[in-house]
Symmetry: C2
Amino acid sequence: MIPDDTTILSAAERIKDHIHRTPVLNSRTLDQLTGVRIFLKCENFQKAGAFKFRGATNSVLSLTESEVINGVCTHSSGNHAQALALAARNRGIPAYIVMPETSSRVKIDAVRGYGGIITFCKPTLAAREETLQEILRKTHATEVHPYNAHRTIVGQATAALELIQDAGPLDVIMAPVGGGGLLSGTALAAHYFSPGTKVIAAEPAMADDAYRSFYSGQLVPSLHPKTIADGLLTSLGSLTYPIIREHVHRIITVSEESIIGAMHFVWERLKIIIEPSSAVPVAALMDNAKKKDPDGLLILGSRVGVILSGGNVDLSKLPW
Amino acid sequence: MIPDDTTILSAAERIKDHIHRTPVLNSRTLDQLTGVRIFLKCENFQKAGAFKFRGATNSVLSLTESEVINGVCTHSSGNHAQALALAARNRGIPAYIVMPETSSRVKIDAVRGYGGIITFCKPTLAAREETLQEILRKTHATEVHPYNAHRTIVGQATAALELIQDAGPLDVIMAPVGGGGLLSGTALAAHYFSPGTKVIAAEPAMADDAYRSFYSGQLVPSLHPKTIADGLLTSLGSLTYPIIREHVHRIITVSEESIIGAMHFVWERLKIIIEPSSAVPVAALMDNAKKKDPDGLLILGSRVGVILSGGNVDLSKLPW
């Protein structure tokens, strides 16, 4: 059953003293370049550097008394790992994180810095899941899925809820899509709290499983995704896909070149650090300004909210 | 005569619809690292990317009717050039900018992007001043000095004024020092509007003319300065020095390594882009946490405002 409006409002209430209510920024320069009026929800300023902390915190705070003693676990090499480690530490419980042994030093250090207990595995999905099962057997910890779980989805929905509350009426909200946790949460928040707002997703063309699933009507996995937007490599899940099918208006794909260009523009002109995944919807808007918008939504003067999903970047490996 | 409090308040009123009232940010991570409670005044988000836009705008808006028709001019290769070009364009008048022919492409493009009319010269101070005199003769434009002018100083003072208004009581305000426009303005704002607040300057050890002038009691020029903080290469001026002598509490010098470390930390953890000059006071606070504070001001729980002076960085030339 798809989460209802009160479930999202309860999550917002549950996590509000634990998260940052991130600012909504405007940029005249970006407005001029894209032709629309943009409201940037800055989850790059969220604790642990990404929106993932919302879903992780909601999940950790939703644990029952019997669950909480054994802690939480997940497999992730990215923002979800850091977010879960920090959310668990904030509740004083262990977080067991399965990470591929090929993970970057920066990511390993960040998870350790938040007190996560790391188990390394071979860099395959099979090895990750097997290792996680082993940890579950040993620790009886509760698995917190990075996107395919309702507690996670409603946590992520609170970013769009705040954006709707703070930005005033919006014609469109845009979010990137990987596993679909952020996008499905965003779509539900718009549906319940701003029904006139259309949700448009942006996805790297080089990892376009959501695009293909959305338009074919069949959930297809991400095969050999290869994008700089490393938060968007995963495939949609069984819970996120139906919500996206029902409540998302459109999915736009963008090239790697556009993603890097948008990221560079935001760093250089807005002076904020966003990771490549955050640049994906910005790239879609910058591309859109160069051609005729197919459905008349992203047009001159439209009010467009954009969720900047995170700001975790390895500063020693920049794409320019 | 040193500008009085009403001159600063008038400048604030004059420029308020033209500038960004930049946010004041906190960071628990930075507080933990430094031991003090930090309030970051984010002039990196100012128009044209630095506090310089305040002084430039105040200067341009203060021009008399007879002055305004001939426009403004300056010699600068940095943030002041961009700031003056934009401030002039906003008032619809020409800005003649003398730049060394060795200026980076990024800086030249930025000045041109704001409509500045550039004249290139040899990269020596003599050539810059000679070229400027020639332009003054030809155009009868009004020179807007980057720091050694009261209109500039009171414009820069408005950053600290806003910080005082927005952050609540502060024990200390820190600012970087180059030519001393920002520092003298900050010191005046604290003196008039928050007399209990001490102003502490931070300066690169490799460009320590303000430190040497302050403690020797004699205005000494910057000889062969060589620092990554390229906004702080200039020497104090005849107007900024006396204000600094009278109203600044202390000057701390920092190493190049500390500046780069502080800049990297702010980028990585706070997710905002600051230029090396902005990192100088942050570096002083990070250094200070490692040793005994000599005068008991920068101690556990002190409330310390820091002016992040700007965010203009060539992203293709990062120091790590």
